[in-house]
């Protein structure tokens, strides 16, 4: 029996279509079909300045946009060969880890939602709302943040923001703990997830898994630890590892990563030094408004940057950061003009989604749900 799931089906969050062949309730074969959310990220980017690509990156993984902003801007900075200021590095890590928490909360909530535990979803959403409010205060928008800039970030912490964050983090962790209580040791949940969608470590690497899905199989690969970027080398955190690579491991690993990200956020708040949030180099960063309003040099630099864009020397780099779902890579090519010559993004979800037929083969159709949720496919980054 062939059953068509999606692209509009309650389980297929995002827009993906699965053509599933069933034998009874057992999945014999599944063919995923993607592209319903394809928006032409690469082509659009080739017709914008380097700076104008930023809003597009918000819309890749729309659950943790700041991580995409950071990943992309780090690529541009790598092409330019510059580093951003120290405070902005802390800010990027801080906001990035908050975004990581929101992403994991979304994933965990979705697992609960589609397994029938709607309450879990709402608790996770409540916690996510609190964090998105903080993101909104920091960046000016909840999801479409466009917050990073070449050589820094767009805005500093608003007054009183730090205290607000410190106040709402305990509530976030409390709600996370309630999710933990409702799911983690519940036998129904464990029966539904343990031993479901197992992938061995070798196979996971072969399929190109990264992020929580790879670490659930026991492979210790986290870009934050393997190649510490920004100020991750100054942070004290652990990379939780799974053992069996099943859905339960992926779930509990995300739960643990929320706690680790919480640690990083607190450390960032403590260690963050004062200082500028944007480099003072008018070739790359917009001059301060005072100069623009008052000096001819400032206006000229400003106009040149806006009209011509940042002049990035020719070259080709692949830059990789740890996105919420795995290694977020940008393959950037510049031809020395103001626009990116070619951008291709390695959404961590794409290789993981390509393994979905392998993961669900032989399981019941009901198992499709937790497996599909636990790989946390985000339509935006997979389908670009």
């Amino acid at each position: 029996m062939t059953v068509n799931l999606g692209p509009s089906h309650p389980a297929m969050h995002g827009t993906v279509r699965l053509i599933v062949t069933l034998d009874g309730e057992t999945i014999v074969e599944a063919v995923p079909e993607i592209g319903f959310l394809h928006r032409g990220f690469s082509k659009s980017s080739e017709h914008s300045t380097w700076h104008q690509v930023l809003p597009y990156t918000d819309r890749l993984n729309y659950v943790s946009p700041i991580l995409n902003n950071v990943g992309y801007i780090m690529g541009v900075e790598k092409l330019l060969g510059i580093k951003d200021t120290e405070r902005s590095q802390y800010l990027r890590v801080l906001a990035g880890e908050i975004s990581r928490i929101t992403d994991h909360l979304t994933c965990i909530g979705a697992i609960g939602l589609e397994l029938g535990a709607f309450t879990v979803f709402l608790y996770a959403m409540e916690a996510r709302e609190l964090l998105w409010d903080r993101i909104s205060e920091l960046t000016g928008a909840r999801v479409t943040t466009s917050w990073t800039r070449v050589g820094g970030v767009a805005s500093d912490l608003p007054p009183g923001w730090e205290q607000k964050l410190r106040d709402c983090l305990p509530r976030v962790m409390e709600l996370t703990g309630e999710v933990d209580t409702l799911l983690t040791r519940n036998r129904i949940f464990i029966d539904r997830t343990r031993g479901i969608g197992v992938l061995s470590a070798e196979e996971a690497v072969d399929w190109g898994f990264t992020g929580p899905c790879l670490r659930a199989t026991g492979v210790n690969y986290d870009v934050r630890k393997a190649h510490p970027y920004l100020v991750y080398d100054r942070m004290d955190f652990e990379v939780p590892l799974g053992a069996s690579g099943d859905t339960y491991d992926r779930y509990i690993l995300r739960l643990e990563e929320i706690r680790q990200s919480h640690r990083i956020v607190l450390q960032c708040l403590e260690q963050m030094p004062p200082g500028p949030i944007l480099i003072d180099d008018w070739r790359y960063a917009l001059p301060p408004k005072k100069e623009v309003f008052g000096s001819i040099e400032g206006v000229m630099a400003h106009f040149k940057l806006i009209t011509e864009g940042i002049q990035v020397p020719p070259g080709e780099v692949y830059v990789y950061t740890e996105g919420a779902n795995g290694e977020l890579g940008f393959h950037l090519v510049s031809n020395g003009k103001g626009k990116p010559y070619a951008i291709q993004v390695r959404g961590p979800g794409l290789p993981i989604l390509s393994a979905l037929p392998r993961l669900i083969k032989g399981h019941a159709i009901a198992d499709l749900i937790p497996i599909f949720d636990s790989i946390n496919m985000i339509g935006g980054e997979v389908e670009q």
């Binding site: 062939t2 053509i19 690469s42 009209t307 290694e327 291709q344």
Partner: protein, 216 residues
């Protein structure tokens, strides 16, 4: 650090060219060698993770004259394309490889002439190459010889042209695809080759193209 990898490749394939930019090591090999090079890296340098297969169309790389600004360059004017010198080899395919154990990365680059867009597939080596090769095929029209299921990945099969090529007009409109009758799912075989089932014409992954054992 990664220079050792380039040396490893050049030891076996002397005509491979190594280069580096901002710390990214690149080794450019001939098209026929790509499977062997990748296999060598996979087996001897433990580069088990294929991060991405990306491609670049170099058609306007040197000649593009506009600066930044979305307004200024929404479309390459037709006269600019006319006068463009034919850049050959026009396409580059880049395999971004990574070794989790040794924490080394290397990019293997293949250059392709536009009259012969064929690359041997590396799907036997990396399963994740399946979708990346389909992606590159979808966007650039580069054919991966030997790929088990070389279909469009993100776009639909009726799509005309390859959108990430530099000579693809940005404002080109695609023809509307007529909607086909939805076949009766229970009684009577549908129009698709699999009999009653999903309407095949609307999908770009028809069942007929999938080897049941391809995924396991």
């Amino acid at each position: 650090m990664s220079q050792a990898l380039v040396d490893l490749v050049r030891e076996r394939f002397p005509d491979a060219k190594g280069s580096s930019h901002r710390g990214d090591e690149v080794v450019t090999v001939r098209r026929e060698q790509v499977v062997d090079v990748v296999a060598l890296l996979r087996n001897q340098a433990e580069m088990k993770l294929l991060r991405q297969i990306a491609a670049v169309d170099l058609l306007t790389f040197a000649g593009e004259s506009t600066g930044g600004g979305a307004l200024a360059s929404i479309e390459v004017p037709a006269y600019a394309l006319e006068k463009k010198p034919r850049v050959e080899p026009r396409f580059q395919v880049a395999y971004n490889l990574y070794s989790i154990v040794r924490k080394q990365s290397l990019r293997v680059r293949v250059e392709l002439r536009s009259d012969d867009l064929k690359v041997p597939t590396i799907t036997p080596l990396y399963r994740t190459a399946d979708w990346w090769e389909r992606y590159v095929f979808d966007m650039f029209g580069i054919e991966f010889v030997g790929h088990p299921n070389l279909q469009r990945l993100l776009l639909y099969p009726e799509f005309v042209g390859y959108p990430l090529r530099k000579d693809y007009p940005v404002r080109k409109r695609q023809p509307l695809v007529p909607e086909l009758d939805f076949p009766d799912l229970v009684r009577g075989p549908g129009p698709g080759p699999g009999g009653a089932g999903v309407p095949m014409s609307q999908t770009h992954v028809g069942r007929q193209n999938v080897d049941p054992d391809a995924y396991d």
